[in-house]
């Protein structure tokens, strides 16, 4: 069954009521009752039609906002992926014995940039994070790396990107919460159900923010 079948039935019902109202009005010469019934049917179907259009458009607008905010997360995650090769190269210069970790990070990063949709990108981003944390924390064992200006600059960029990922995730969460309440309240739930709108789910995006403060940009450990 078409997911918009319910909506089609709803619209058909309203159109039918409107036409029936016109028919009643045409029979005005038989009785005043026809005039009253016809007017009521026409008015009710018109008002309900307007409400239906208003609510439907509002739900669609909010759904589009969710997609837009998902795209915002996507942009920030791609920035994180772009940073990884430079970070790995810098770490490699100081920690040659950590080849295994660094190769794994690059492999996961390459897999992530080939992902085709937002869900995959988010999943890959979550998979890559433990290895990325491991790479960053290598600085604890290599003091020269920790003091390297390029490494510190990359760390600062990573902090900025993580801040923006958190911000984009908050926008997404707010939009999802708003959308879900919108489609669940009465009478919107009747329309959203008929139109096949389903509740959106909050996504889990891991961020490196929790480990990054441990790196002191002055070269020491906090």
């Amino acid at each position: 069954m078409n997911k918009n079948a319910g909506l089609s039935w709803l619209i058909s019902g309203l159109v039918f009521a409107f036409v029936l109202g016109i028919v009643f009005l045409c029979l005005w010469s038989f009785s005043v009752v026809f005039i009253v019934l016809g007017t009521i049917l026409m008015l009710l179907s018109f008002v309900n039609g307007m409400i239906l259009i208003g609510v439907y458009n509002k739900i669609v607008k909010h759904k589009n906002k969710i997609n837009e905010s998902l795209a915002l997360i996507d942009i920030q995650l791609k920035l994180r992926f772009d940073l990884i090769p430079n970070l790995v190269e810098t770490v490699k210069g100081f920690a040659k014995h950590e080849e295994k970790v660094l190769t794994e990070v690059i492999e996961l990063r390459n897999q992530a940039i080939n992902a085709t949709n937002e869900e995959e990108i988010i999943e890959d981003a979550n998979n890559i994070l433990p290895k990325l944390k491991q790479t960053v924390l290598l600085a604890e064992d290599y003091p020269k790396l920790k003091a390297d200006s390029l490494f510190l600059s990359l760390m600062q960029d990573l902090v900025d990107i993580e801040d923006r990922i958190v911000a984009a995730r908050r926008i997404y969460d707010s939009n999802v919460t708003l959308y879900n309440s919108l489609i669940q309240i009465f009478p919107n739930n009747l329309i959203s159900h008929a139109a096949g709108f389903k509740t959106a789910e909050l996504i889990r995006i891991d961020t490196a923010e929790k480990i990054l403060p441990k790196i002191n940009f002055d070269g020491g450990k906090e």
Partner: protein
């Protein structure tokens, strides 16, 4: 900042008893004179009306004597009125003189540890106001109580970033449909700004009325209470939310509870702020020489410092 109790005890030591007595006795004298002047003015009005009725009646045998009303009016009406006006303005003078006398001492006590300057007669330059998003147009611009507080670095040393704020009033002359000119208030309240050594990556307006264009969009945050109490708009939601961290949102709500309605705009390299109340001013009937006056100064400084502290601790703003 020192506690209110400590502040009150220090204030008490700042003002000696004889000064309070002198103030109170001057106030009593004024009240006594006013208690005579006001009934006198009332009586004069009654006499004036009665005389007018007599002179304008048909039985009047003194044609042209109506003009003598003007000469009567001068002494019996104008003199008590002048006395009243002078006494009321003396009250105002007392308040200003008293404010000038104590404010420096009080501020140095309250701004302890902060680098600041205060000038009761100066105000924020009109060029700054004109550059701000609060400016539309004005014909008259004036203000008072300019305070410049240095925002300290993390280690407590003064930074180059200064929070300037002062009371401002901007009014404009407008013509209505009938061609009558009327004065419209463009701005009336506390106006502050900070110039940062960097550009913000977004424009963010909180409770700002005029900052609307097609590129700006309304921000809906995860905090329902914030969404109800504030209207936030921006041209870049991600950058705006980097600044509006959950802790910042919480602090903005707390600040609103403390100082009432306010508006903040972050644009280019400046932060502008508008608060709808005057600095170090009390409502006219409350202009008394008592602790309420000093409490008001305490509260105002405490509010200024909570804004300064918030800006200082919010590294998302300060270290962008």
């Amino acid at each position: 900042m020192i506690s209110k109790e400590e502040y009150r005890s220090k204030v008490a030591s700042l003002i000696n008893e004889s000064e309070i007595q002198a103030y109170e006795s001057a106030k009593r004298k004024r009240k006594r004179i006013l208690s005579i002047a006001l009934p006198l003015e009332f009586a004069a009005t009654v006499i004036y009306v009665l005389m007018a009725l007599f002179l304008f009646s048909d039985n009047s045998i003194h044609p042209g004597s109506q003009f003598s009303l003007i000469f009567f009016a001068l002494p019996i009406w104008l003199i008590p009125t002048t006395i009243t006006i002078v006494l009321v303005s003396f009250n105002k003078y007392d308040w200003k003189a008293y404010k000038r006398k104590y404010i420096d001492g009080l501020l140095s006590m309250l701004f302890d540890g902060y680098k600041y300057t205060y000038d009761g007669k100066k105000f924020i330059d009109s060029s700054v106001f004109k550059e701000s998003p609060y400016y539309t147009y004005y014909d008259h611009y004036y203000g008072e109580d300019l305070i410049s507080v240095n925002i300290p670095n993390d280690d407590g040393t003064p930074s180059d970033t200064i929070f300037n704020l002062s009371d401002l009033v901007a009014t404009a002359e407008e013509k209505d449909q009938d061609g009558h000119t009327k004065t419209v208030t463009v701005f009336d309240g506390l106006f502050g700004y900070i110039e940062f050594p960097f550009e913000f990556k977004c424009t963010l307006g909180i409770n700002h009325k005029f900052l609307f264009d097609k590129k700006m969009e309304k921000l809906t945050l995860e905090d329902i209470a914030f969404n109800k109490g504030f209207k936030a708009i921006t041209n870049n939601p991600v950058e705006a939310l980097v600044i509006l961290t959950p802790s910042m949102i919480q602090k903005l709500k707390t600040l609103k509870d403390k100082i009432g309605w306010f508006s903040i705009v972050l644009i280019n390299n400046k932060l502008y702020m508008e608060v709808r109340h005057d600095l170090f001013e009390l409502k006219r009937p409350k202009k008394e020489f008592n602790e309420e006056v000093f409490d008001k100064i305490y509260e105002d400084v405490s509010n200024i410092l909570s804004i300064v502290e918030e800006i200082k601790t919010n590294n998302k703003i300060f270290k962008m």
